[in-house]
Amino acid sequence: MIKGTAYQFGDNIDTDQIIPAMYLTTTDPKELAKHCMEIADADFPKKAKAGDILVAGRNFGCGSSREHAPLSIKGLDLGLVIAESFARIFFRNCINIGMPILECPEAAKEIQSGDKLEVDLDQGVIKNLTKGKTYQAQAFPPFMQELIKAGGLMPYVKKRLGSGMTI
């Protein structure tokens, strides 16, 4: 169960806004976290606490393929990202590195910054404690659930390699 405060950012937040390219000279999540979302909200890295929840509109994470973007969010120890929709590569990256995300247009539209949320990731249930509303997020396709269960892409790959399957 994840409990935290929501931070709402609108539509079309691209990876340059999540982590500007000038900071791509490191792969350390903690270093990247210091600049997470700073283009959209300069104080965000300081305000956000572990477990807090990033909420966004459509096409979150569009733009470059930099895995540094979800890593910077992970580095801040945020609980998860809820969005109306995610850009394709960002979505893959989150699943691959084990950064929890949920796609839920209704919740993403109605949650406001400062709302207290409680999220059951396994069930995909988002509770807005401030507004007293509950939402059901979309379920992941079975293949992705398998990846998530394995703990991300690399553990899944190791399993495949270890199983002696010819690659």
């Binding site: 000038m22 792969t27 470059s64 393929s65 890593l71 850009a87 990256n93 690399m154």
Partner: protein
């Protein structure tokens, strides 16, 4: 019922007779690519999971593109990680500083991506290669690490949107204008998760380079991949270049599409994307007069020899506007050398432009001409999100090389005819 070329390519790489949109597949990869920024994270992922055997040392390309040459101590240290990895595993396709250039211009130029293949790149503009009639898409570092280990990638088979371009193109209209127009029409999430197949007589008369500009910006419409069927132009381009045998796939007449667009582009003027979204597109005449502080000709979108030739023809005997700086950066070292031989570099320097070795440089606000607060740039690159080329309050217009160059001369967004005179056109570039 027929299949799209993309379905056929993906089926061939999955060992199935056919695949359907929405289906999850594990596809065999022909080439994997990472750059100086994405490779270090992939290497970390491999090391963390104790993977020490790579799939194929001759099919994993590492191309130093972004912070090239190293812009500071951190990027030098990061480059060293990728360099050591390439040496340790004896990667035959490692392109260090000075040996290559921007990944998406380099791989086609060297014939390292050919029709019918599946290419996976740890960079979002890996969709570029689809212009050669293959499947290619951008992924993150962990994804490419998995390909490096196994030679396979998991994919959801995309639906295909088909775009048919007809009509007589204005002499100033290029591949860049076709794709900007398209993104403006369908919005920058209009092709989310989908394959964009481009066709039609107005497109197929364009050069290979112009086609690659088109597929380069598929991701700016949210697309997963772009596709242009290989034809005579493609085969002429591949002649003497292609490093592997290839197969040409065609879409069946009765294939199913998610959507079909058919546009007559007769009379369309050059297109410009306005700050801060690549789908805020309008004809150049409606934006004319917007002041710019800087202009950039380069990037994986429009930094090829054809683009430099256009710019040089317009710049010849003229100067860059006072107070404005014009960065001209050939996309690869080979293009740079060719431009030197043709005397283009001389024209740029005479006009007081800044010329540098191949690098992404200012395209991602990395180095070589980063924008300060409130500065405005007109760029031949592909993205104009807030802060893309520098300060969060800087702004970027995206346009074709001729519009960028003309604007560098006047100091404001303008049509090339404003510099050359009405009705004037260029000799074929």
């Amino acid at each position: 019922m027929g299949y799209t070329a993309m379905q056929k390519i993906l089926a061939a790489h999955t060992g199935k007779k056919s695949v359907e949109p929405g289906e999850f597949i594990l596809a065999k990869v022909d080439l994997a690519m990472a750059n100086d920024v994405t490779a270090p994270l992939a290497i970390k992922a491999l090391e963390r999971h104790g993977i020490t055997k790579l799939w194929n040392k001759d099919r994993i390309a590492i191309v130093f593109s972004h912070f090239v040459p190293a812009k500071d101590i951190l990027s030098a240290a990061q480059a060293a990680v990728a360099r050591e990895f390439a040496q340790k595993y004896d990667l035959s396709l490692f392109f260090d500083e000075g040996r290559g250039g921007i990944e998406h211009s380099l791989l086609p130029e060297l014939g390292l991506v050919v029709p019918g293949e599946v290419v996976i790149g740890a960079d979002s503009h890996s969709c570029t290669y689809g212009g050669l009639g293959l499947f290619s898409t951008g992924v993150g570092s962990t994804d490419v690490a998995a390909v490096m280990a196994t030679g396979e990638v998991w994919l959801k088979v995309p639906e295909t949107m088909r775009f048919n371009y007809r009509g007589k193109l204005d002499p100033w209209v290029t591949g860049k204008d076709l794709i900007l127009y398209t993104i403006g029409q369908i919005t920058f999430e209009g092709a989310l998760y989908r394959n964009m197949e481009f066709t039609g007589p107005a497109l197929m008369q364009l050069s290979m380079e112009a086609r690659l500009t088109l597929t380069n910006m598929v991701v700016e419409a949210g697309g997963k991949s772009g596709f242009i069927e290989a034809d005579k132009v493609t085969e002429a381009y591949l002649k003497g270049r292609a490093k592997r045998p290839y197969t040409i796939y065609k879409t069946d007449p009765d294939a199913k599409f998610y959507a079909n667009y058919d546009w007559d582009l007769t009379g369309m003027e050059p297109q410009v994307a306005q700050p801060n979204l690549p789908d805020k597109v309008a004809g150049v005449s409606t934006i004319k007069g917007a002041k710019v502080h800087s202009a950039f000709l380069g990037s994986c979108t429009n930094g090829r020899i054809e683009d430099l030739r256009i710019a040089a023809q317009i710049l010849k005997g003229r100067k860059v506007a006072k107070g404005l700086r014009f960065m001209v950066i050939p996309a690869t070292q080979n293009i740079y050398r060719q431009a030197l031989k043709e005397g283009l570099i001389d024209i740029f320097m005479e006009a007081e432009a800044v010329v540098s070795a191949a690098t992404c440089g200012p395209c991602l606000g990395g180095h070589m001409g980063v924008l300060g607060p409130n500065e405005v740039c007109i760029s031949s690159s592909n993205r104009n999100f807030p802060g893309r080329m520098g300060h969060r309050d800087s702004k970027v217009y995206l346009a074709n090389p001729a519009v960028v160059t003309a604007s560098a001369i006047t100091g404001y967004v303008c049509h090339p005819e404003e510099v050359l005179g009405k009705g004037k056109t260029l000799a074929a570039a």
